[in-house]
């Protein structure tokens, strides 16, 4: 599973960073950055929570 973020949709709410800090960060503009595109299985539960928590629906999981 690959984590995909859409920085153009991002509104910098930071839900991803507080929920899965090993996978997401914010750049200087406060916009989402994926720091671990292929997180370990143990992280995936948090990442799946982020898909729902992100208020601008800017995070997705790709099957490749």
């Amino acid at each position: 599973m690959r984590v995909v973020a859409n920085p153009r949709g991002c509104i910098g709410a930071g839900q991803c960073v507080i929920t899965a800090p090993a996978v997401f960060d914010q750049d200087e503009d406060g916009i989402v950055v994926v720091v671990d595109e292929r997180p370990a299985e143990a992280q995936l539960e948090d990442v799946r929570a982020v898909l729902d928590l992100c208020p601008s629906q800017s995070i997705s999981l790709a099957g490749d």
């Binding site: 709410a13 960073v17 406060g30």
Partner: protein, 406 residues
């Protein structure tokens, strides 16, 4: 299906104004404890949405189910702008200032207009930036607790602590001199009280904007490391827009945080087993959802939400406290239980307008609770909870005073 509606192709339609059988009056009188109004459970149990009657005479849709509230807050056909006909107002005479009166009041703008403001401000409210601010918030809180302890063994915690801390924090962040606290707090109070008249709101708005405009001119000459200077340097906003955006940040940073902090103190005093548990903050945000009716909306096209047809031009009030007490999303939703996972609450809204300052709020609440209960372990309510002065008339729910002793 409730009386007064017909169902066509699976969508509810209203039969028109003549049938008021299920029209409810809104806003409801708030209970103090427990919270929120018990009628919300009845509203959630109905099919579709709830057609209601506002003090202004307008009729609006109340949205009370969790999924429906999130759907309203993310639908691009539903607008946050009072420029659209049919936009609701919660107060008797007003509510959200019109962007024409307060340019820069960006919660009342839709994308893409809204985005220029949000983008200029996001860097100042990131998770990292707020983490860096924690020592200065701690300093503010410690100073207030020093003051409480020095003054004796009783206090009004609202006046001396829960209103003061967010006010000090947001004014330092914005670069507003704190000596002017009384000036802007008195005017903010008028703006967040539902029974204020149109003239009172209008005057308070003009006075705050005039004050901020003068301050902005000073910052232009002598920039600091505050938010007003950041907005000036961004080049993204006009001077008038910076005044309006500053007014919004001042009110948002003050009212919601202060009220949540005060209510949370009461809940923790009544449930001391959760004092010191960091999960209490998120659960208190969910439980009180003080900005219950702040996110007002209007449909700019016919749109179906939760099986209910909303016509173009009809007002919508998504009630976040009702959504956060929806038992299909939060088990035993009316219980205060920090042990649950409350992270998906919508107390900060959802969609592009989700609270910009949410990490600041979390930091302030966490530091305030941690510090006050550590340093004043004997803290207790000085009056029974039933006698507390709840803000029945506030746009934001909260407490007018909180007598405590130790």
């Amino acid at each position: 299906m409730a009386a007064g509606e017909t169902r066509v192709r699976g969508i509810h339609h209203r039969e028109g104004m003549s049938n008021t059988a299920q029209l409810v009056d809104f806003p409801l009188r708030r209970p103090g404890q427990p919270y929120p109004p018990k009628q919300y459970a009845d509203f959630r149990s109905r099919e579709g949405l709830v057609w209601s009657h506002m003090p202004t005479g307008a009729k609006v849709w109340l949205v009370t189910k969790y999924d429906d509230v999130r759907a309203v807050l993310t639908d691009p056909r539903i607008s946050s702008s009072p420029r659209h006909e049919g936009f609701p107002s919660v107060g008797r005479t007003g509510g959200v200032p019109n962007p024409d009166q307060v340019p820069g009041w960006f919660v009342a703008l839709d994308p893409p207009d809204h985005d220029r403001f949000r983008k200029a401000l996001i860097p100042e409210f990131t998770v990292r930036r707020i983490r860096e601010m924690r020592p200065s918030i701690q300093e503010v809180v410690d100073h207030r607790v020093d003051g409480l302890l020095a003054a004796g063994s009783e206090a009004d915690l609202v006046h001396d602590f829960t209103a003061a801390v967010p006010s000090l924090v947001i004014s330092a962040l914005l670069g507003v001199p704190h000596v002017d606290r009384d000036f802007f707090e008195a005017r903010i109070r008028l703006l967040v009280t539902m029974s204020s008249t149109h003239d009172q709101r209008d005057q308070a708005t003009r006075e705050i904007l005039r004050y901020l405009s003068r301050l902005i001119l000073v910052k232009q000459k002598r920039p600091g490391d505050d938010l007003i200077s950041v907005m000036l340097a961004s080049g993204a906003m006009s001077l008038q827009e910076i005044s309006g955006a500053s007014m919004l940040l001042l009110i948002a940073g003050q009212e919601t945080t202060a009220n949540n902090m005060a209510l949370g103190m009461v809940t923790l005093l009544l449930n001391p087993q959760w004092i010191g548990d960091e999960r209490a903050v998120e659960e208190l945000l969910r439980y009180y959802s003080v900005a219950d009716m702040v996110a007002l909306r209007v449909a700019t096209d016919d749109v179906e939400i939760g099986g209910q047809l909303i016509r173009k031009g009809e007002g919508i009030v998504p009630l976040v406290a009702a959504a956060n007490h929806d038992s299909s999303t939060f088990e035993r939703a009316d219980e205060f239980d920090p042990g649950r996972s409350a992270r998906h609450h919508v107390a900060f809204g959802y969609g592009v307008h989700q609270c910009l300052g949410q990490h600041l709020v979390r930091a302030e609440l966490d530091i305030a609770y941690r510090t006050i209960f550590e340093r004043i372990p004997k803290l207790e309510l000085a009056v029974p909870v039933e006698e507390l002065a709840f803000k029945y008339d506030g746009v934001v729910f909260g407490l007018d005073s909180l007598p405590v002793r130790w």
